[in-house]
């Protein structure tokens, strides 16, 4: 076994001495990384990747040397150095950039020259864009409906799976697959299942003698016709069409098992005493659910709610896979990508990104509120 670990001793000492006390493996590794980093600078490859990789390798060497010299001094700050640099580079820097972009008139045309200051003009233009209004309503509806469906179905699923029965472990394995599955593959698969050509649902409906449903279109839902003259307007504004239903089914199918998993873990962590007491008092299953399970589970319900809320606000891939950039199915996230990268209108795209970020910040606020309440209890 090696005698020395990553650093030499408890107190700081000059580098050569500290270096002598580290393990030979570590010394060799450091030397190799340093050589690789230096060597990379002279390789004839593109500048960007070369500087990035060589820089990271040399940083690693410097970091290890610094740890060796400092020992335990300032170790708590030394440990967060890599993650702080990384987080700063990939969150703080882009966010500052985003704010700057959102207040300037920047498009592909003038990106390399001067950016005129635009004040709030980019934000104002969002208000006049009917697509933004549509995407806003759609995002809200998509999030709300999915959230409610998944919470309710996930909870019922947890109650069902909480019982012990034969084949339970097989079913719980099956339910784990969608949680880990690639969202884009799930969406492509559902796009096929919903499709007109060999789609499973319409095949099964056909067997039952039902006319095929135009799932992947914005055909209004059947009941809209009965709403009279307000029908078409409602269908258009509130997305009362089959395509939107298909979007919701896809997301709810993939993520209900995740909600169920969280609820099941929450249920199994509940104390047993109240249930025993209820049984002695002869409470019905409904009473047990209403007066014991739900109140005890409230903190978990809150956390699950926020986790799903945040994830639903992130959704891009599933909607893209089912409808691409189709105007009638765009959510805010898709509109950002179309505006900012498709149309190369960076300023307006950045303004829209800021709006979505603010929406998320409200969710963060909510989450922290939940956390504080949990700590207070």
């Amino acid at each position: 076994m090696q005698q020395r670990g990553l650093t030499g001793g408890a107190s700081s000492r000059p580098l050569p001495m500290a270096w002598q006390r580290t393990s030979p493996v570590l010394r060799l590794a450091t030397l190799l990384i340093a050589l690789a980093g230096l060597g990379l600078f002279f390789l004839p490859i593109d500048e960007g990747p070369r500087f990035l990789v060589a820089g990271s390798l040399l940083f690693t060497v410097a970091y290890m040397l610094a740890l060796t010299i400092l020992g335990d001094r300032g170790i708590k700050y030394m440990l967060i150095v890599p993650s702080t640099l990384l987080l700063g580079g990939i969150t703080v820097a882009p966010l500052i950039y985003l704010i700057v972009l959102s207040f300037h008139k920047v498009t592909m045309m003038n990106f390399r020259s001067k950016w005129p200051f635009a004040g709030l003009a980019n934000y104002m233009s969002l208000l006049q864009d009917p697509l933004v209004k549509g995407a806003f309503i759609r995002t809200f509806e998509y999030t709300a409906i999915n959230l409610i469906l998944q919470m309710v179905l996930g909870f019922l699923l947890a109650l069902l799976m909480q019982r012990t029965f034969k084949g339970r472990s097989l079913v719980s394995t099956i339910l784990l697959i969608p949680v880990m599955a690639c969202p884009i593959v799930v969406a492509l698969l559902w796009s096929y299942l919903f499709g007109q050509h060999g789609g499973l649902f319409n095949l099964l409906l056909g067997k039952l003698g039902v006319a095929p449903i135009p799932w992947l279109s914005n055909t209004p839902l059947p009941f809209v016709n009965r709403l009279g003259s307000a029908g078409p307007w409602l269908a258009q504004t509130l997305n009362l069409n089959w395509g939107f239903v298909a979007l919701i089914i896809t997301n709810t199918w993939q993520w209900t098992p995740f909600v169920y998993l969280l609820f099941l873990a929450g249920l199994s962590a509940l104390p047993q005493e109240p249930y025993e007491a209820a049984q002695i008092d002869g409470a019905s299953s409904w009473q047990v659910l209403r007066y014991i399970t739900l109140p005890l589970l409230r903190p978990v319900i809150g956390v699950v709610f926020v986790i799903r809320l945040v994830d639903l606000l992130k959704v891009y891939d599933q909607i893209y896979a089912l409808f691409g950039e189709s105007v009638v199915m765009r959510t805010l996230n898709i509109h950002i990508v179309v505006k900012g990268l498709g149309n190369q209108d960076y300023g307006v795209g950045a303004a829209l990104s800021m709006v979505v970020l603010l929406l998320t910040a409200v969710a963060v606020f909510f989450y922290l509120g939940q956390g504080a309440r949990k700590e207070a209890n």
Binding site: L200, V337, L357, T360
Partner: protein, 274 residues
């Protein structure tokens, strides 16, 4: 809970069977369809019995840039995992043991986890273009770190919190430095958690689509999910290769689900229940 009468038991099993069917059939249908001859996939009849063919897998593996996409996917998820697990575990240890940075740092990490990836797409695109990283796997590795670094810090902090500090203190009395006690005492103890975190990070980046589609669509950086998504645009009924690619993407997921179920459930539920 209550006496299970016969009817209740039957109802219970009935519901369980429905649940199993609802969540198995779509995936089974995908795998089945990937083995069907092309014209049968879009046949307007329900075909369950057919002679399986590997033609779509052959098409995907041979005529497209599939091996390259596979290597890109592996490089992106491997690179991101290496970077974020290294940086994230050290930070998580510091946050767990010394509360470094207090609430501010913890909230910053949490906030990063909540930002929708679409929000960062425009600045990432412009920054990486300026750095000459567009259409390289490096851009995807850096971008994917936004998703996984905060996840690693948050999850590993939870695992470190569960390990009592007495063991480390004993190691330090025996002459270990803080870093040595982390390396020799604490890390072996959190190994199950670390394994779960590594698997999650690998799978999240393996499944990632948005950054792949915006920052690396050239063959030099295209990942498998983006390649599968390519078939979306054409309304051509080219489902065979889609499902072959999809099945390949799902393979590691299935392996993980079947063999590491316990760790995954623990990792998924840790943050929510504590």
């Amino acid at each position: 809970m209550g006496g299970d009468s016969g009817w209740r038991l039957i109802l219970n099993y009935f519901l369980v069977v429905i649940v199993a069917v609802v969540w198995v059939v779509p995936f089974a249908w995908m795998v089945l369809s990937s083995l069907k001859p092309g014209d049968m996939i879009i046949d307007p009849r329900l075909i369950l019995w057919f002679r399986p063919t590997l033609e779509h897998y052959r098409t995907v593996f041979l005529s497209h840039d599939f091996p390259r996409y596979l290597v890109n996917s592996l490089a992106v998820s491997g690179g991101t995992t290496l970077l974020t697990v290294f940086a994230g575990t050290l930070a998580a240890y510091s946050l767990s043991r010394f509360r470094t940075g207090g609430r501010l740092y913890a909230n910053w990490v949490l906030f990063t986890r909540l930002v929708p990836p679409a929000v960062l797409v425009i600045p990432f695109y412009l920054m990486f273009r300026a750095m000459g990283l567009i259409n390289t796997v490096w851009a995807l590795i850096l971008a994917d770190c936004t998703i996984s670094l905060s996840f690693v810090i948050w999850t590993m902090r939870g695992f470190f919190d569960e390990i009592p500090t007495e063991l480390e203190e004993a190691a330090m009395i025996d002459g270990c430095t803080k870093l040595q006690s982390l390396w020799r005492v604490t890390l072996p103890l959190v190994r199950p958690g670390l394994v779960a975190t590594v698997i999650f990070t690998l799978l999240f980046t393996w499944n990632e689509f948005l950054y792949g589609q915006t920052l690396g669509i050239a063959p030099s950086a295209k990942t498998l999910p983006v390649a599968a998504g390519d078939y979306v645009t054409g309304y051509a009924n080219n489902w065979g290769p889609v499902f072959a690619t999809g099945t390949v993407i799902m393979l590691p997921v299935l392996v993980v689900v079947f063999f590491l179920q316990k760790q995954i459930v623990r990792g998924l539920t840790l943050g929510a229940i504590k």
